[in-house]
Subunit: 342 residues, 2 copies
Amino acid sequence: MTIYDISKKAGVSIATVSRVLNGSDKVRPATRKKVMDIIEQYDYTPNAFARGMGLRSLQTVGILCADSSDLFLAKAVYCLEEELQANGYESLLCCTGYNLDIKQSYLNLILSKKVDAVILVGSNFIGETDRENQYIKDISAQIPIMLLNASYDYPNVYSTLCDDYTAMYEATRSMLDAGIDDILYLYNSVSYSGRRKLEGFSAAMRERHIADFDRRIRMYEGDPQQMDDIASFVEHIARNDGIVFHGVIASEDPLAIGAMKYAGRQGLSVPEDLSVIGYNNSMLTTCCTPELTSVDNRLETQTHQLVQTLLGVLAGEELPKQSVFSGRLITRGSTIFQTENQ
Amino acid sequence: MTIYDISKKAGVSIATVSRVLNGSDKVRPATRKKVMDIIEQYDYTPNAFARGMGLRSLQTVGILCADSSDLFLAKAVYCLEEELQANGYESLLCCTGYNLDIKQSYLNLILSKKVDAVILVGSNFIGETDRENQYIKDISAQIPIMLLNASYDYPNVYSTLCDDYTAMYEATRSMLDAGIDDILYLYNSVSYSGRRKLEGFSAAMRERHIADFDRRIRMYEGDPQQMDDIASFVEHIARNDGIVFHGVIASEDPLAIGAMKYAGRQGLSVPEDLSVIGYNNSMLTTCCTPELTSVDNRLETQTHQLVQTLLGVLAGEELPKQSVFSGRLITRGSTIFQTENQ
DNA sequence: ATGAAAGCGCTAACAA
DNA sequence: TTGTTAGCGCTTTCAT
C-alpha cells in the first residue's frame, strides 16, 4: 500500500495525500476526511524510508549506551526515551558495549539514519586522549551531540552531568567527620565520571592528611552484578593484603552492596564496625539491610535538562554548553553519621 | 557525501560503488580497492533510508518492551540485542509503556521501518480477549512475531517462554513440603505470565486442600521499585486485614524483597519466622540478607533460543511454534527447606 | 567486470 | 485548494 494507491482510491493526487499525512492546513476538510477514511480503511502507514529520503528532520534522535542492563544506564535510557517521546521525538537505541571501535561504527550507523541528534549515555564515551575523542569532533560537525553524565568541551557538544567530584568529596568528608579515616575506596571504571569521583575522594583524604590513603584505593575488575565476587574481592583485600578499614566508599552501589556482604560474612556489623557509602542512589540501596547510604546524582533531573537543552538547540536557540547538577548524599542505615541534607 | 561523489572520485560508475558496498564478487580486486580507498578516505556511510527504499531486508528487527528500566525486561533486551548483533542484525528498540493503544501505534511505526521481524518482550503484550490481540494477527500477516516470555498460538507467531505455571507450582510445593501452608502470595501483574504463575500457586494450594488460601492472594498496585511501599503494603495486610502468614511467595523479586523488609521492620527473622520466595532470580536476590530464594526462568537460554528460532524462520526453515523451558528454584537463605535442584 | 537507466515511495517546489 | 513533477540516494536489471 503506497501513497499512490491511496490517492487513486481517494480520487486525489499524491500531493494531497501527502499533505493530509503531514497535517498541512492547505487541505479542504472534506478532502481531508475523504483521504483519512481511505487511509484508515486500509490501515496504511507511510514508508519511513521513502519519507527519510526527503531532507527534513525525521524527529528522531539516536541514543547510544554501553550496556542497557546496567541499572543506571537502563534507567537513564528509559527516562530519555520517555521525555523525547513526550516531545514528539522518536529514539533509536544502540547498545555498543565497552569497546571504542564498535562505538565508532555504531555512531556511523546511527548517523546514516539521519537522526537529528545523538545522545551518548554514560561517561565511557569520552576517552582521555584527543585521538580517542576524534569521532566526537567528526560527528558534532554534522549534528549536535548530547552527553549525559559526561563532559567534553567542543562546539555543538552539550554536556549534562552531576558534579561527581564535589559529590564524592563531600561524601568522603562526611565519613571523615564521623571519625572514620581508614576508608577503602572501591571503583570499577576509569571513565571520565569514574576519574572525577576518585579525584574527589583523594582530595578530601589529602586535605585531611590521611597517610597512605592510596593504598586503600582498589579497582574491581569483575562483573559488577556479582555481589558474591565483589564480597570475595573485598575479603581478599582485607585478608591477603592486610588492609584495615572501617569505612567503604564505592563508585557504584553494587560495589557497596558487595562490601556489606563481605561484612556480613565476617560477622562485622554495618554501620557499627563498617560504614558504607554507595553511589547512584539506585533501587539497590533499599534492597539491603541496613539500607545503603548513597549519593544521588539526580538522574531524572539530568535527563529532563538534557532533553530540554536538546529541544532548544534543535530550535536554533543559544544554550549553555554544560549543565552541572550537584549530587547529594542520601543518608541511610549503612552509615552512622548524619548530614544536614535530608 | 553520496554514492555519486564516491563514484566520481573513484572514476567508476555508481553501480560499481554499490557493488563494492554490498560485497558483490563481480568486481575486479583492483577496482574494489580503488573504491574502498575513497570510501575510507571520506569516511562515507551509505544513507540508510535510500538503501531502505529497495525491497530487500534491512537486517533489522524491532524490539518492543514495556519498560526498559524494569530489571527483567532490561536484561532481556540486552541479551537480545547482543545476540542479534552477533548474527548481523540490527535492532530497533521501542519502550511502549503499559498502555495497549500506544503499543499498537508503536508497532505500526516499527513496521513502517521495514523490520524483518518484531520481538515482543514480556507477556504484557498478550491480552485476554481476541480483540486485544487483533493487532498481533494483523502484523503476523506481514512479518514474523517473536514472543519472549509469552505465548500466543497463531500462524507466524513464535513463542519462547518459561513454564511459569509449573515453576510456581513447584516452588509452592517446596514451601508446603517444608510445613509452611499459610502463604501470602504477592503479585503485581495480570499479564499472561502473571496469570500462569498465580494458577500454578493456586493449583498447589488446592491440591493440598489448604483452606481459604485465596484470601492470602494479594495484588500490589504501587511502584514495584519502591521496596518501602511494598513493605508497608504487606504490613497493612498483616495488621489491618489480620492475615497470618509464615511464608511469602512473590511473582517478582522486588515484591519478595519488600516482604523481607516488612519482616525486618517487625523484628521477624527470615527464614525462621518467615520464608520468602521470589521470581526471576535477578540481581536483587543477592543484594539482600539473607539472600533470596528465587525461581530462575533462564532468561539467557530463552533469548538465545528465540534468536536462533528467528534466524531459522527468516531463513525459511520450519520451526516449532513454541519453545518452553523449565524454571528452577534457586535455593538461598530466605527459605529453610532444601530442594533437590542445585 | 562495468556502466546506463529504471524504479523504490515520499516530499516540496512550482503551476494551475 | 489541488495537481504535476523533479528529485532524494540507493539497488538492480539489462546492456556492453
